[in-house]
Amino acid sequence: MSGPHRRAFTLGVAGAGIGLALGACGSSDPASSPYSGDLRTVALAVALENQAVSAYRAVDAALRGGKLGPAIPALSAFVQAATAHHVAHAATWNAILRSARKPVVTGTPLSGNAQLMNSIQAASDVNELMAAVHGMETQAAQTHTAAVGNLSESGPAVTAAATIAPVEAMHAAALGYLLSGKSAVVGFIGTGGALSTTALTA
């Protein structure tokens, strides 16, 4: 991402401590939500990024815990880098909310969050653990890809979706390739697994 949009995001992130914030609690009724239209798509994107950060932190803890066998340096390095990317993505999306004078999303207000975190906690081996986050990354890439087409106005949100979706897709591809030695990349990223804004509980 480059140009004035990116600079505006950076300025917005600098003021992250100012204003309202919505965490995991909230209404599932869109009528009472502070987010509507394109900003509901943006809020969903933040929630997905926050979920990814939480998921990778849980994965990191599991890898460090020893329950899943000896350390895997390449996987631990991947987890650290991917976590940092998702933190940056969340800041980018939240800056758009802030510039629209809407509360930022600091938690994981998603209807499927508990199921994902449970599957990470319950993983009995590395493959199960990483399958959960691989699915999460694919879902994020497809959700952002769908956003590029669904957002009604061109501007920072479209730029964010278009420049972040390829990164989530790379996370998924790299993770799959590192663990299986086989590529699972398909010809078009697709949007069949994209989350709808109805999954947002804020």
Binding site: M1, S2, R6, G69, P70, A71, I72, P73, A74, L75, S76, A77, F78, Q80, A81, A82, A84, H85, A88, H89, T92, D125, V126, N127, A141, T145, V148, G149, S154, V158, T159, A161, A162, T163, I164, A165, P166, V167, E168, A169, M170, H171, A172, A173, A174, Y177, L178, L179, S180, G181, K182, S183, V185, V186, G187, F188, I189, G190, T191
Partner: protein, 201 residues
């Protein structure tokens, strides 16, 4: 990889027609490059992982070229079946002189990155909804090709021919291989092709 920018004046075709034709020209270049790569002796007789990626990526780029050309016809423009003129000459010369997998993977990675950056940029620029969706669907796939090639390059640099495929294999990989495929938090667009670079003239 370098190339010369188009010297002719910008086409007067609508924006969506120009970007679709340019995207098709880049996909055509990728198809031709992967076809040449597949026939290189060190690929034919080398590691299976590189051969598999070359065959699979070539098939994807063929599908992408067809999709862009189908879309440009719907938008009222002429289909683009030629490779991108800016890069075709230099890529062809580099491929002809290619003697080792590491250099080849480096070239293909660069090519994938240019196409991914271009499709990302065009997803932002495109006027039509369906055209925007098409670019948004293709850009992440080119980025994924790049991610896998970057990992393969890191393995080759470490003296390995492939990744293995089990958790036990993954345990002995250097940490650098883990991050090789995910080099940036935001996909760049600074190296995107000019919108009229592959326009049919």
């Amino acid at each position: 990889m370098t190339g010369s920018s188009p010297s002719t004046a910008a086409s007067e075709a609508p924006l969506d027609v120009q970007v679709l034709q340019t995207a098709a020209s880049l996909e055509n270049l990728a198809v031709a490059s992967y076809k040449t790569a597949a026939g290189l002796p060190f690929v034919l007789h080398g590691g299976g992982e590189l051969r598999a990626l070359i065959a699979r990526n070539r098939a994807h780029h063929t599908a992408h070229a067809q999709a862009f050309n189908l879309s440009v016809r719907k938008a009222g423009g002429a289909q683009q079946h030629a490779p991108d003129a800016r890069y075709a000459g230099s890529v062809g010369r580099i491929l002809a002189a290619m003697r080792d997998p590491t250099s080849l993977v480096g070239l293909l990675t660069e090519l994938e990155d240019i196409i991914a950056q271009t499709c990302t940029r065009y997803a932002i620029l495109a006027a039509g909804g369906s055209v925007r969706v098409l670019f948004a669907n293709v850009a992440p796939v080119e980025a994924q090709h790049g991610a896998e090639l970057l990992i393969l390059r890191a393995l080759l640099d470490d003296g390995r021919s492939g990744i293995g495929g089990t958790v036990a294999d993954a345990r002995v990989l250097p940490a650098a291989v883990g991050t090789a495929g995910i080099p940036q938090a935001v996909y760049p667009t600074a190296d995107a092709s000019a919108i009229n670079e592959g326009a049919v003239r």
